[in-house]
Symmetry: C2
Subunit: 123 residues, 2 copies
């Protein structure tokens, strides 16, 4: 691993949030102020292709990066907030219903997050 790979890997896997390349860029800059965007792209893609980080795509939102460890996501369509959640039994259910092997699955549940629900009440 090169220093940037290592740093970017560390940032993605230790962050509580789900970071965009823009945000990762901001973080890497704190330690290596001269880094350029191309390096962030190079390295997140490398990490992603190597299966070391996970990329999360949601319609009309920038891609975000996450640790690999298996979990699902709640997505608030109002504010874009992602929340980790672990749902049981999905893989078993898929295995039962699909007549074939699968590699992985990706489950997003859309809901209005508490903050947005609160805001709505205020209006």
């Amino acid at each position: 691993m090169t220093k940037y790979e290592e740093e970017i890997y560390r940032i993605i896997t230790t962050s509580k949030d789900h970071l965009t390349v823009e945000q990762i860029y901001g973080e890497v800059k704190k330690k290596y102020p001269k880094v350029v965007m191309a390096t962030i792209y190079n390295n997140v893609n490398k990490l992603w292709r190597a299966g070391l980080v996970r990329k999360i795509s949601v319609e009309n939102m920038p891609d975000r990066y996450d640790r690999i460890i298996k979990h699902d996501h709640l997505v608030c369509p109002r504010c874009g907030r992602l929340t980790d959640v672990s749902l049981d039994g999905i893989a078993d259910s898929l295995r039962g219903q699909l007549g074939q092997e699968f590699l992985a699955y990706d489950l997003k549940v859309f809901y209005i997050c508490p903050e947005c629900r609160e805001q709505e009440r205020e209006q």
Copy 2:
């Protein structure tokens, strides 16, 4: 509905495939050769915001559009092919496990499609 909205809606909802804006553009052009890309973007976004079509985002693939009718997707990470599939019991399982209401969910199952599996065997 304007003529383009109508045409684009028809194209998305009657296609067997899951079309990109590029492909929708190609289709609309058959009937209205002078149409420009901006019109496609305007109208798919309008349809999407109105909840009349669904947008599908998969990492490292262009967004695609689909009919609204509820179903899940198999995704082949090799070739990008999307296949419709209807999986039962997911919503119930979510309702049981989440302590809160949700709006919708989005489930993608990654698998190597028959064509790609075949290709692999040939090598």
